[in-house]
């Protein structure tokens, strides 16, 4: 696993290096060609844009016979909490504008969308202005964005699918002890999480209390990771807000189920010299936070990196067209992106497994009862 990983990181870095250099130089100069992605800077921007959450569900774009640019997808509801209160409208109101040029009037509030963030124009301002250093608007304020974004849509979709699939599995047991069909495929996965993740890490006595959480999180992350590999282009587990939320749940469960022994080991480590106890306490307290922090960053970074890598490799078709010709660059692109996608399928499972396994481990450490 390791050597393969480093090799693929090297390949990707070299590809990315060329792309991001262009991106930095010509950030603001994109020609208004309706969003055709064919130059290197546009590819970089497109990839970075994809990694972010989106306010509409965009599937693909094409140019029709009249030279008109068509976007295929569907709008999603935008719900924002502005200085004037809650405002809701469909994302189609922005007319696919993501550069802050199109202003939406919503009951006395002027809203713009810039790099998938929604800003409220200050009173009296008629056009949004951006600071070129920070890329933040100078005459507009952030709003609390509670929209049903693409990620929220993905979360809802996965939630419904999970309820249907596992609810169906649960229902099957009423008639028969052995499930049939698709449920037969799900049952071993459930048993796998229970027997390979929850049981060994938490311990025979207490694991039952936490299997519900661990199972939910495992399938939630895994299915979303896999969704991210489909052309639907979800990047939910690559959103830091989502992984932060997941890690926060693990953190809270760990702390609230911590035994007396757990807290004693943090603040007053038994069995060491008192001076060491004083030194160890802040380290242990820091450890309480670094563990879930690592969970958050690991999942976010792995999935985001995976998406960037796959998209960059697909983009080789354009980036190496000049030097290798359309056939050569397409061939390289297809071969590389195919194999990386295969690895990503593995990573999708692996990250779900690691997140759940480490969550179980942290919970297990917290509920463990030591015998001194």
């Amino acid at each position: 696993m390791r050597p393969a990983f480093t090799k693929y990181i090297l390949v990707v870095l070299s590809v990315l290096a060329t792309q991001f250099n262009f991106a930095k130089e010509k950030e603001e100069k994109h020609a208004d060609d309706g969003g055709i992605v064919d130059s290197q800077e546009e590819i970089s921007e497109y990839i970075l844009h994809h990694i972010k959450d989106a306010h509409d569900f965009h599937l693909f774009s094409y140019t029709n016979g009249d030279g008109e640019r068509k976007h295929i997808g569907f709008p999603l509801p935008v719900i924002v909490y502005t200085s004037e209160g809650l405002r809701a409208f469909m994302s189609s109101e922005f007319h696919h504008d993501d550069s802050g040029h199109h202003i939406v009037e919503a009951d006395g509030v002027q809203l713009v969308k810039y790099h998938e963030k929604i800003y409220e124009l200050n009173a009296g301002a008629h056009a949004v202005k951006f600071d070129h250093e920070t890329h933040k608007p100078t005459n507009a304020a952030s709003v609390l964005d509670l929209s049903i974004t693409k990620s929220v849509f993905g979360i809802l979709l996965v939630g419904v699918l999970m309820l249907l699939a596992f609810g169906g599995l649960a229902k099957q047991y009423k008639n028969d002890q052995i499930p049939t069909g698709f449920a037969r495929f799900l049952e071993p996965l459930v048993i796998y999480v229970r027997d390979e993740i929850a049981r060994p890490n938490i311990g025979e006595k207490k694991y039952k209390r936490f299997t519900g959480y661990l199972l939910t999180v495992f399938f939630f992350i895994w299915i979303l990771n896999l969704f991210g590999l489909t052309p639907l282009g979800f990047n939910v587990t690559g959103q830091i807000a989502v992984t932060f939320c997941l890690a926060l749940f693990t953190f809270l469960i760990t702390q609230f189920s911590g035994t007396k022994d757990y807290w004693k080991h943090i603040f007053w480590m038994p069995g060491v010299h008192p001076v060491m106890k004083v030194i160890l306490a802040p380290i242990e307290v820091l450890g309480m936070f670094t563990k879930p922090f690592a969970l958050m960053v690991r999942l976010f970074a792995n999935i985001s990196a995976g998406h960037i890598v796959v998209m960059s490799l697909i983009a080789i078709t354009f980036t190496l067209k000049a030097s290798m010709g359309i056939v050569g660059s397409s061939l390289i692109s297809i071969v590389l992106s195919f194999f990386i996608t295969l690895i990503e399928v593995l990573v999708a499972f692996l990250q779900a497994y690691i997140f759940t396994m480490l969550s179980a481990l942290f919970i297990g450490l917290a509920v463990e009862e030591h015998e001194h």
């Binding site: 972010k52 959450d53 963030k117 609390l144 964005d145 509670l146 929209s147 974004t149 990620s151 929220v152 979360i155 809802l156 939630g159 999970m162 309820l163 596992f166 609810g167 599995l169 649960a170 229902k171 047991y173 002890q177 052995i178 049952e187 459930v190 048993i191 229970r194 039952k208 299997t211 519900g212 959480y213 199972l215 939910t216 939630f220 959103q239 830091i240 807000a241 989502v242 932060f244 939320c245 997941l246 926060l248 749940f249």
Partner: protein, 166 residues
């Protein structure tokens, strides 16, 4: 880090928190709990079935052992009986032999006694006959002796002499 913080969407975080909480709650209620209890009861059932199968196997073994034991016992009994019969036979033969021997010796003894008695009787008879004969001889002799008077006198005198001496 700046980029990360900029990308962090508080709205998405809030929504995700509520959705995840709801999802965990619903999944536990409608999926994990019934699934787990079903799987556990099934595992329990399998365990029980295995245990009872083991028990049945053991019982079977016990039964086989029992029947073997019974067979062994029966065999031993038969052997014992045979031995006993043999012993009885032998002792009977020995007894019979002994009895026969005793009877035989008794008969011999009896025969001996009879022979002895016969012998005695015969001897007595012979003695009697000898006595009779000798008396007869003596009579004849006396008759002869005492045929004349002289001789008769002499005899009387001798006899008297003897009597007197006594």
């Amino acid at each position: 880090m700046d980029q990360l913080l900029n990308d962090f969407s508080p709205g998405l975080f809030i929504i995700q928190t509520f959705l995840l909480l709801g999802l965990i709650f619903l999944m536990v209620k409608f999926a994990w709990k019934p699934i787990m209890s079903a799987i556990e009861s099934r595992e329990e059932g399998i365990k029980d079935a295995l245990a009872s199968a083991e028990e049945a196997k053991k019982e079977m073994q016990n039964i086989t052992a029992d029947s073997e034991k019974l067979l062994k016992e029966a065999r031993a009994e038969r052997e014992g009986m045979l031995k006993e019969a043999k012993d009885i036979k032998e002792s009977m033969i020995a007894e019979a032999k002994e009895q026969a021997e005793a009877e035989g010796s008794k008969m011999i003894e009896k025969a001996k006694l009879t022979i002895e008695a016969e012998k005695k009787a015969a001897l007595e008879d012979i003695k009697k006959q000898v006595a009779t004969l000798s008396v007869a001889v003596a009579e004849k002799m006396l008759k002869e002796e005492l045929a004349d008077d002289k001789k008769q006198q002499k005899y009387i005198e001798d006899s008297l002499k003897d009597i007197q001496l006594n």
